[in-house]
Subunit: 342 residues, 2 copies
């Protein structure tokens, strides 16, 4: 700001009231530092910077009006880690533990019995279906506000079983930079996750800068109910929507009503979202995160315990989507990686 004041003074601007100047300066575009310092120089970073410059430069053929600058990001494995299990499963396991005194039948009933024995691998053997069942069993009956409070409290202390880090510190620093950079260029950034919409919302604004109305996810049904004379929504043990695979474009259209011009995923579950984005008639960018860094994160770019990824990677190659190698493209993986104990 000092430099700008000097320039303005040289240009003959004197005596301007400082609040006015602060206001003025706060609306000038930043023209200095690298917006993506955790990204190594190279074709991936170049592709991102080139695309953003291309669609935000007025008067050019590829200019896209701000209103159409929709960017959608998968969450698990794209914005934060997803190994050894989806982090939301850790929340569900904790709920099963907390509610088990009221459910003596869970001691012998699967998958609950495995969770209570801390055998999480067996508990998740039933895949997505088993997890959804547990979500419904442990969340039903709460109001949306009770659930939101519970989630907010849980995420503030929940730690990763292997690294011991706060889960919110296992968000990817390069992605936090990319989200902020896109917003600084008037993109609207959305999460489009297979995870629970109400699980992500309570902490998405603080963690990613993404407000609740820009979170899209899987959901269970709710029912409007007056409780003690106050209007509430109560969670039901009924599935509403699975926001995965072909569900992602369906949900994007339902919530946003515009095609994204930028989408980013990391698994076969994100394929249709990327195809939907690729079919935009506006200039667009499809990004695909490759988990190829066994030393700093995990390497599972073809298959993993939580699902296949090979189709996505093959499509990415075939369609020339921009593949992000965690190993080569990122000089830092996690947020606050330098201070792991904080």
């Amino acid at each position: 700001m000092g430099l700008l004041i000097q320039l303005l003074r040289r240009a003959g601007v004197t005596g301007i009231a400082s609040p006015f100047l602060a206001l003025l300066v706060s609306h000038l575009p930043a023209f200095s530092a690298d917006p993506l310092p955790s990204w190594n120089p190279g074709p991936t970073k170049d592709a991102i910077l080139r695309f953003v410059a291309q669609v935000t430069t007025p008067g050019t053929r590829d200019f896209v009006p701000a209103a159409e600058r929709i960017a959608t990001f998968d969450n698990d494995g794209t914005l934060w880690a997803e190994q050894p299990v989806y982090f939301q499963a850790l929340f569900v396991f904790d709920r099963v533990q907390a509610l088990s005194p009221k459910h003596p039948e869970w001691q012998t009933q699967e998958p609950y019995a495995s969770i209570l024995r801390k055998d999480f691998r067996t508990a998740l053997a039933g895949g997505e279906h088993a997890l959804v069942e547990m979500v419904m069993a442990t969340h039903a009956g709460m109001t949306t506000e009770e659930f939101s409070d519970l989630t907010r409290k849980w995420i503030s202390t929940a730690r990763h079983p292997a690294t011991g880090r706060l889960l919110t510190d296992m968000t990817y620093q390069p992605m936090l930079e990319l989200l902020a950079y896109l917003r600084s260029r008037e993109f609207k950034t959305y999460i489009v996750s297979g995870g629970g919409i109400e699980f992500i919302r309570p902490w998405s604004e603080g963690t990613y800068g993404i407000p609740p109305e820009q979170v899209i996810g899987s959901s269970i049904r709710t029912r409007f109910e007056m409780r003690n004379g106050r209007a509430t929504l109560v969670k039901l043990p009924e599935l509403s929507f699975i926001d995965d695979k072909a569900g992602k474009p369906v949900a994007i259209q339902h919530h946003i009503g515009r095609r994204p011009i930028l989408a980013c995923g990391n698994s076969d579950g994100d394929l249709e979202m990327l195809q939907w984005t690729e079919a935009s008639t506006l200039p667009h960018l499809c990004l695909f995160v490759r988990h190829d860094d066994a030393a700093r994160e995990y390497a599972y770019d073809r298959e993993s315990s939580i699902g296949r990824l090979d189709k996505g990677l093959d499509e990415a190659a075939a369609h020339k989507w921009t593949v992000i190698s965690m190993k080569s493209d990122w000089n830092q993986i996690y947020r606050g990686a330098l201070k792991p104990t904080e």
Copy 2:
């Protein structure tokens, strides 16, 4: 702007480059004209102005951060007229006419036969259910983009059967002012309609200044499909969600994830949305439009051919919601009312 330049000059600001000054001025709050000129002076207008001042004045007890300034508006009967039938029904009738050559069975099959005879009253005797059936029969098979183009084209010429005015000119001028005023005070304005989400979106931005991602409504299911190698969403003849009555708070939570602090409706279908808003822990305002102006619009504030309104009005009185009398509170009803032939 001239006055401000003079003031700045008097304050010693000279020689400032004009683009800088324009930028500066464009970010100062407007401090002049009545933001609601179509609203008559009185308690209703006062309540609105007082509420907005109250929640937007920093440092006061009732201040609400901009992110929480969510305002939800019903559409039919709240933002535009809804007599003699919901305007979307006119669209559906036109679709039935257009598609009838391909459906010879409609000549004898109700409600289609009545529509083809232009007996709209009989056609709608089946109520919401009949309308939803017709929506599904006439919209299924189209892609979302084909439907959007069709709707945009239709609304650009569709006229009201009684007034002959463009339907978009039967939007209420005082409501257009209220929406713009709220946005100027950093509210995010939403439509929450029993009408079709995809029917409203193509023209909501141009008509109301409300972008597609802030439109919530009823919906039919879609299926992701590659057509000629291009990712599309195809409309199915299956109901997804009816955004009416208790469905409104459910949909508000699903799309926005925050309780509104301002809601406005006009019928029993809006009751639960208003109750949901009333239960906010933040300062809030519930508005209820009363159709009591037979001369300039329609008078049907207790019952009408399209549904009951008495419960809403009784609740409004009991809960001291702010009732907007079209007759007393509005000095102009429709947009562009002075130039009906344009």
